[in-house]
């Protein structure tokens, strides 16, 4: 027991060494657990949120609305109407996604709508351009191209969240600049579309898998395929039903039309008949009347004649009465006839009026007939066009999109995987350096205690017992350090990183997981490394016989170094430089350890700073070195311009989105290609997975167009994916102008995309990478500090007798500092050099893992990054030499008189 007590006494006596092992193990543990756990925490948190919100696995979108029958078959969680609409709020234009309120959301602040002109808006994690109380005025521009809303002015009363939108970036749209700015939830009654366009489906059997695992992905993909097959059938059914319904309705309309037509024409015919009959009758009557009139006239003439004859007859007594009687009779008759004549005339006059009426009736009939004919023509035209419409109905399409395509899901996944990949490369180097330094420290301790080991052995202690002394020492330090490190790593690092991720993603309550697997892994890794180191170092010592251990014989031999042997320069060097050089290369072990240790730190630092640089300069590189245009304005009809014009479209290649540019040689003016672009070329940017000579299938986002293009070249690009197609390959009407200057946007343009907008979009990703980098840089700096400190302390302790001797010989402190620190500086210089050379490799490996599908970072590192890294490490070394001066001052000259070293 006394033996073990002595171990703990040693720990107290050599507390600075013990603490340095604790610190190094702690740093290693922080980095490893911190970076590993962050991605686990992030994914667990989001997985729970998705579970709790019953987030969809499959989303189906129909170009025709889903009908009752299909919905009954699919049995979705939710079905709703969704389209995009340009709108204005606070005098600014935004692209809105309008979702019917049937979709599920969670109220975060404000209140739920109480009437149909009130809406809730999706809460964004940053850039809250629209707040509660603001009004949104939707314009006629929407993605459906027909009237979609009953009212267009809405008041925002609440902010909500929905699992579909966890990232601050909401996705793309066919409207405006192509960026979706906001999502609003509008009452279903305000939307003119009656049936849902979107359905969300959750698959119960997928619930048991974490959504970020490959198992989930594989299973979901299989299910998606099954849905895709079903979707074809659904689409066909919906289309058939729509067509049948349309045809049925048309037929009904047609029949009605025919019926009306017959009825109307019959009525017209009857009316015509009636008019003709009337007319005939009138004419008949007129004829009679005329006859009567003629008769009356003849009678009257006869009477007149008779009267005239009577006048000629001499009037006598005898006949006078007779004549007078006759006369009276005649006059009476005449009067009667005359009144008859008047009557006839009156009748004729009446008939004239009747005639006029008939003429009027005829006119009316004519008009009616004309109207009828026009109506018929119109109706038949309508029917014809309806028939045409039915014939021209576009085939119904149902798109199946799974969770993997959700913008929030996949940005989140790639962000958390970024950390994961950083969590494998960085800790590896970190670990390596930590183990190395622990190894050096323990080895030094064992060497210092050579005599003690000899004494213990001579006292009869077994090798295993001696071994436990160092194992207890090393493993205790390691356990303490690792435990602290694991706790810090598990909570502090994720907390730090989450702070920034909260700007990019809407997190529900964060799950801080204490992952025992990770903790144990870290612990085992470190303990095994330390224990192995101790065992290896001790093995050599224990193999020596006791006498050798106890003797003062110095086993180390001075050696001339290479430089000396060549004879060149050596004699010209100053004495102190000679000693420094010889001492530096004296112990190969220490040389290699130091160079790797400091080199490793330098690599980490260079990688961190390099990443930060690459990430920060990527947008500048894209928009001042590759794409030289500032705006991309698309018109309905191209205005006259001398800027470069193109046809452009957003397309899908495999699973990637890309912009298709169709243009001619003038593209060379505003895009820097790796090779000159000409009309027959199809040049793709480097992130599109295809080789030169390969034919790629490119389809537009709305699946309307599909092109097969043979790739003739690849070109460097930093942000986004592009396919540049020569005008000889695809004939397309140019509708887009690429504007070089950052002038104010043209109001005539349908959409304008600004380079600046794209920069803002990548900024989010850049921010997130930057935090991780800052954490890594800080930890690397700590490591640099601890490593150089340790190496220097070891250097001093190895030379303590030498330094004491120099003191006795009368060397000034300054000379002694130089004697030891020149060596440390030279070693760290070599280490830095090594680190800078290999750091570049590490940097490019790490860079690749971080960049993701749409971004390519520039792999070249500017000299300044090397310089800064160099300066930082050198400064740290200098700082440490200053700190450690005290330690050298403290060296007791009496050490020189001791018998052993």
């Amino acid at each position: 027991m006394k033996f073990y007590k002595s171990v703990f006494q040693t720990i107290i006596q050599t507390k600075s060494r013990f603490l340095s092992i604790v610190t190094i193990c702690m740093l290693g543990a922080i980095v490893l657990t911190g970076l590993l756990i962050t991605s686990i925490d992030m994914q667990k948190t989001m997985h729970h949120y998705y579970q709790q919100q019953n987030f969809y696995d499959i989303q189906m979108i129909s170009t025709y609305s889903f009908d009752e029958e299909t919905l009954n078959d699919i049995k979705p969680n939710t079905s709703f109407i969704q389209f995009e609409n340009v709108g204005i709020s606070n005098n600014k234009t935004y692209n809105f996604r309008v979702v019917s309120d049937e979709n599920q959301y969670t109220l975060l602040s404000g209140r739920l709508p109480q009437n149909e002109s009130e809406i809730v808006i999706l809460k964004k994690t940053k850039n809250h351009t629209i707040k509660i109380g603001d009004t949104i005025e939707l314009t006629e521009k929407n993605s459906i191209n027909k009237k979609t809303l009953n009212t267009t002015t809405f008041k925002v009363v609440g902010e909500v969240s929905e699992p579909s939108y966890i990232a601050n970036l909401l996705g793309g749209t066919s409207l405006g600049n192509g960026v979706l700015d906001h999502v609003i939830y509008v009452s279903k009654n305000q939307i003119t579309i009656k049936n849902p366009t979107h359905v969300h489906v959750s698959i119960p059997e997928l619930k048991q898998h974490n959504t970020f695992t490959t198992t989930y992905e594989v299973k979901l993909k299989a299910i998606t395929n099954a849905f895709e097959e079903k979707a074809i059938k659904y689409a066909q059914d919906i289309e058939n039903r729509v067509k049948t319904k349309a045809i049925e309705q048309l037929n009904v309309e047609k029949a009605q039309f025919e019926k009306e037509k017959t009825e109307k024409s019959k009525a017209l015919l009857q009316a015509k008949q009636k008019i003709t009959n009337n007319e005939n009758e009138i004419y008949k009557k007129l004829n009679n009347l005329n006859k009567q009139a003629t008769q009356v006239k003849t009678h009257l003439e006869q009477i007149q004649k008779t009267l005239n004859q009577l006048a000629t007859i001499k009037v006598d007594e005898m006949n006078s009465t007779q004549i007078a009687l006759q006369k009276t009779q005649l006059i009476q008759k005449e009067e009667m006839l005359q009144s008859q004549q008047t009557q006839i005339q009156q009748a004729i006059n009446q008939l004239d009026i009747a005639k006029q009426n008939i003429a009027k009736a005829k006119q009316t009939l004519l008009n009616n007939t004309k109207q009828y004919e026009a109506k018929i023509a119109e109706a038949s035209k309508k029917i014809a066009s309806a028939e045409e419409e039915i014939k021209a109905l576009k085939p119904a399409k149902i798109y199946v999109e799974n969770r993997l395509k959700n913008v929030g899901y996949h940005t989140f996944k790639s962000e958390s995987n970024n950390i994961k990949s950083l969590a494998t490369i960085f800790p590896l180097i970190f670990f390596f350096v930590c183990v190395l330094v622990t190894m050096m420290t323990m080895r030094r301790m064992i060497e210092e205690e050579k005599r003690l080991i000899g004494t213990l052995k001579s006292l009869g202690y077994k090798n295993i017992t001696i071994w436990t002394r160092y194992i207890i020492y090393g493993v205790t330090a390691c356990l303490i350090g690792t435990t602290i490190g694991v706790v810090i790593g598990m909570y502090f690092i994720p907390m730090l990183l989450f702070k920034t991720y909260e700007l990019l993603f809407r997190f529900p309550k964060i799950y801080y997981v204490f992952d025992f697997k990770t903790a144990l892994l870290t612990l085992i890794c470190l303990v095994v490394c330390v224990a192995t180191t101790i065992t290896v170092s001790l093995y050599k010592m224990l193999k020596m016989n006791t006498a050798t251990l106890l003797s003062n014989i110095n086993t180390t031999t001075g050696r001339k170094i290479m430089l000396e042997k060549t004879g060149l320069m050596w004699n010209k060097l100053k004495f102190l430089t000679k000693i420094t050089l010889r001492n530096t290369f004296f112990s190969k072990f220490r040389l290699i350890m130091t160079v790797i240790g400091i080199g490793g730190c330098t690599m980490l630092l260079l990688t961190g700073l390099g990443l930060s640089h690459a990430v920060k300069t990527v947008s500048n590189k894209q928009y001042s070195k590759i794409h030289l245009f500032q705006q991309q304005a698309t018109y309905k009809t191209l205005p006259i311009t001398n800027e470069v014009t193109i046809y452009n479209e957003i397309v899908e290649v495999d699973d990637q989105y890309a912009q298709l540019f169709v243009g001619d040689e003038r593209l060379n003016e505003i895009i820097n290609f790796d090779q000159t672009f000409n009309k027959d070329d199809v040049i793709i940017t480097n992130k599109i997975k295809a080789n030169i000579g390969q034919t790629i299938k490119v389809s537009s986002v709305d699946k309307q167009n599909t092109y097969y293009l043979k790739v003739t070249g690849k070109t460097t690009n930093h942000i986004g994916n592009f396919i540049y197609v020569g005008s000889n390959v695809l004939q397309k009407e140019h509708k887009t102008v690429l504007i070089k200057n950052n002038t104010s946007p043209d109001n005539e343009a349908e959409t304008t995309i600004f380079a600046q907008d794209n920069i803002t979009r990548v900024q989010a990703m850049i921010d997130s990478i930057d935090v991780v980098i800052i954490v890594i840089v800080i930890l690397s700096l700590l490591l640099v500090f601890v490593v150089t400190y340790n190496i220097t302390v070891i250097s001093i302790s190895e030379r303590i007798k030498e330094l004491a001797t120099l003191k006795v010989l009368g060397f000034y402190p300054k000379e002694i500092y130089r004697y030891i620190f020149n060596e440390v500086l030279l070693l760290s210089f070599l280490g830095i050099l090594f680190g800078l050379i290999f750091g570049e490799q590490m940097f490019s490996v790490v860079l690749k893992t971080v960049e993701g599908a749409n971004i390519t970072f520039d792999k070249s590192l500017p000299l300044s990054i090397y310089l800064i890294t160099f300066l930082i490490v050198i400064m740290f070394t200098l700082l440490i030499t200053i700190i450690l001066r005290r330690q050298i001052k403290k060296i007791n000259m009496l050490e020189a008189l001791k018998s052993y070293d």
């Binding site: 000679k578 000693i579 001797t805 009368g810 402190p813 020189a896």
Partner: protein
Amino acid sequence: MFLRVSNVKKNYQLGEIKVEAIKGMTFDIKEGDFVVILGSSGAGKTTLLNLLGGMDTVSEGTITLNNNNISAYTNKQLNDYRRNDIGFVFQFYNLIQNLTVLENVEMATQIVDEPLDAQETLKMVGLENRITHFPSQLSGGEQQRVAIARAIAKNPKLLLCDEPTGALDYQTGKKILALLQKICQENNKTVIIITHNAALSAIGNQVIKVQDGIISEMYYNENPLPIDEVEW
């Protein structure tokens, strides 16, 4: 007087215990003498050596060398004193392992104003053929000779030797002492040897015996014996 030690006391504080390593010593040493300080372990001889060598300061009393009060020196002055006035020979040689024989000597000569020639000094100690060797390639006696060469090449006023033969065998030890004697006589250097070996008292001009922190006996040999005639 060349070196004068008067009423020197040295106390150490070890935790709560105060240890009186030197309880009061007074003696003079003439220039060019070969002085042997004799004492068993714990007698205070090493403490005395530390005080004479400027590695430690007195608690009481004064030490003067050529009338300079060393005991009143600041650290910086003590540093200069060690650098220019003292040559030190260690029991375990304390050579820099990573420097050759010549370099070990040169290391010392380059820090003083009027050094002796390094190669000449090495010739004097009989190592002219080994100047390019490293210490580990030499025997113990040879290493101690290098140490002596290093000490005298600085051309010090006083050569302090701490058990110079302690780590050497009998014959080699004798040779080293002979060398020291030779240096004393031929170069007129004051040499102080600290040893527990009573037989060496015969070779000193002056012998100081210390015991329990005080001088128990001090005497001068009119005719000190050459080392060859001393046996132990």
